[in-house]
């Protein structure tokens, strides 16, 4: 019987890993679709390589930092992941699942820094985030670190904060340090639209991300055997789906009311916003709660995209900061309200909310600080930004010597 439980858990975690892996394709397509065709090979390459590099360095070092037991701040070194971590599934299954998660955090950033970042700098950044930035905050919340040791432990089931907001905050720092793309802001400082080259690719990307989320969230249960686990992953499937639907719906309606026309590009962001937001609490909220979280996230992402674009004038071509940073944090906080077992709205007081605030802020602080140092170093060593000519003619030719379409 033990063996069967072991098998079922393994099966589920591996299948979930495959689905989460597929999110890499989703990110690649969303980011390629929402940027211009002259930079398509570059953005695809970045999405491929952050997975490639992440797979190697997370296994080599990151995993140990995240799941080792050294102390509350970091897990210590376990070179090439030799220790034993789990008894209910093979360590390799756990490792591969964690690897695809790490790559997700890494890949978020490429969208916000698209169309102007040096490839070399991106590779270094991508190694560092999987090597240390993500594992550290991951350790805090999931690896037995201090966030999980608080009286009321921080609740981030599948990583709204640990994965998505880390990516989002790094993206924020990166986009600020880089500055906007040439032509993004007119002489009067007004934001201009730089439409992406293919909404077909972007939409397919969102569908792929959505199916990937059916691995991301329910997979984070890390088990499927037994009634409890089976019921849990079923609920998570449901809350995940409903929140995505809510996000798309409210983004659509909000844009429709505000601009008279409902655009696809923003609705896609709305769907992702809902999915990101529910990730923290997908196991703890009811389907109704998930719907509300999704609906709020769909509007929030629109406001946030406009805020960054028009008010603070940070150029984020695909809206990664808003989708992952803002909605990730927002969703994590909402667990404090909507958790059926601990949330304020269900009469359990604001204890959990407090923990959530601490978690969101501390992870944000860490991600921002770490990436600030990283990008500053990169700026003065490899250089972060391509030359004006390269940016104008396209990164594909200058960075990779080929063009995506012929």
């Amino acid at each position: 019987m033990e063996e069967i439980i072991f098998s079922i858990n393994t099966l589920w975690v591996l299948i979930a890993s495959a689905l989460v892996f597929f999110m890499q394709a989703g990110f690649a397509l969303v980011e390629a679709g929402l940027t211009r065709s002259k930079n398509t090979a570059n953005i695809l390459m970045k999405n491929l390589m952050d997975y490639v590099i992440g797979s190697i360095v997370f296994w080599a070092i990151g995993f140990g930092i995240m799941f080792g037991t050294k102390n509350g701040f970091w897990g210590g070194l376990d070179l090439f992941t030799q220790h034993t971590y789990r008894t209910d599934m093979p360590d390799m299954a756990f490792l591969i699942f964690q690897t695809v998660f790490a790559a997700t955090a890494a890949t978020i950033v490429s969208g916000a820094m698209a169309e102007r970042t040096k490839f070399k700098a991106y590779l270094v950044y991508s190694a560092v985030i999987s090597l240390v930035i993500y594992p550290i905050s991951g350790h805090w919340a999931w690896g037995g670190g201090w966030l999980s040791q608080m009286t009321i432990p921080f609740h981030d089931f599948a990583g709204s904060t640990v994965v998505h907001s880390v990516g989002g905050w790094c993206a924020l720092v990166g986009a600020i340090i880089l500055g906007p793309r040439i032509g993004k802001y007119g002489k009067d400082g007004k934001a201009k639209a730089i439409p992406g080259h293919s909404l077909s690719l972007a939409t397919l990307g969102v569908f792929i991300l959505w199916i990937g989320w059916f691995g991301f969230n329910p997979g984070s249960q890390l088990a499927a055997s037994g009634t409890t686990n089976a019921t849990a992953i079923s609920l998570i499937f449901m809350t995940t789906n409903i929140a995505g639907a809510g996000g798309a719906l409210s983004a659509l309606l909000y844009m429709w009311i505000k601009y008279k026309k409902p655009p696809l590009s923003m609705t896609l962001n709305g769907a992702l916003a809902g999915l990101v937001a529910v990730t923290a609490g997908c196991d703890a909220v009811s389907p109704g709660g998930a719907l509300i979280i999704g609906l709020m996230a769909g509007i929030l992402v629109v406001l946030s995209v406009e805020f960054f674009d028009k008010v603070v004038k940070i150029d984020d071509p695909v809206g990664a900061i808003s989708v992952h940073g803002i909605c990730g944090s927002f969703g994590t906080l909402m667990v404090g309200f909507f958790s059926t077992s601990q949330g304020a709205l269900y009469g359990h007081g604001f204890g959990l909310l407090g923990s959530q605030v601490i978690g969101v802020l501390s992870v944000a602080a860490w991600a921002i600080a770490a990436s600030l140092i990283l990008f500053t170093i990169l700026k003065y060593t490899t250089g972060l930004r391509v030359t004006q000519r390269e940016e104008e003619e396209g990164l594909d030719i200058y960075e990779h010597g080929e063009s995506a379409y012929n």
């Binding site: 929402l34 201009k192 639209a193 730089i194 601009y259 026309k261 655009p263 923003m266 995209v305």
Partner: protein, 117 residues
């Protein structure tokens, strides 16, 4: 020889093509273009409005002998027209010389086949 360039609605392409063939224009070359003018249709991209109303049109061009010109223009004007704003334009200009690459024939002969007249 005259060169005719017409910017037409894409939806009218089939009719135009047939009308031109009927009046003896054997070959036309075309590609997609966009036009941008004063009357603008607001577009929205990720919350930013931009008001270039680029409209999609088709550019068709052919070179023909002088004697075909009038009937070609007539055919074009009739077949490409809907009567609504945006029907497009026709421009005529002079070609000093033409060559058929396959045979090297030049001048008028480059645009019609001997014996087919």
């Amino acid at each position: 020889m005259k060169k005719v360039e017409a910017i037409i609605r894409k939806t009218k392409f089939d009719e135009v093509k047939e009308a031109l063939h009927d009046v003896g224009i054997e070959f036309i070359t075309f590609w997609d273009v966009r036009g941008v003018g004063k009357t603008t249709e607001k577009r929205l991209y990720r919350g930013v409005q931009y008001d270039t109303s680029t409209i999609e049109r088709m550019m068709i061009t052919f070179v023909c002998r002088e004697k075909y010109l009038d009937q070609a223009i007539k055919a074009l004007l009739e077949s490409a027209k809907t009567g609504e704003i945006g029907d497009g334009k026709i421009f005529v200009s002079e070609i000093s010389n033409g060559y058929r690459i396959r045979t090297g024939e030049q001048g008028d002969k480059s645009v019609y086949l001997k014996g087919e007249e």
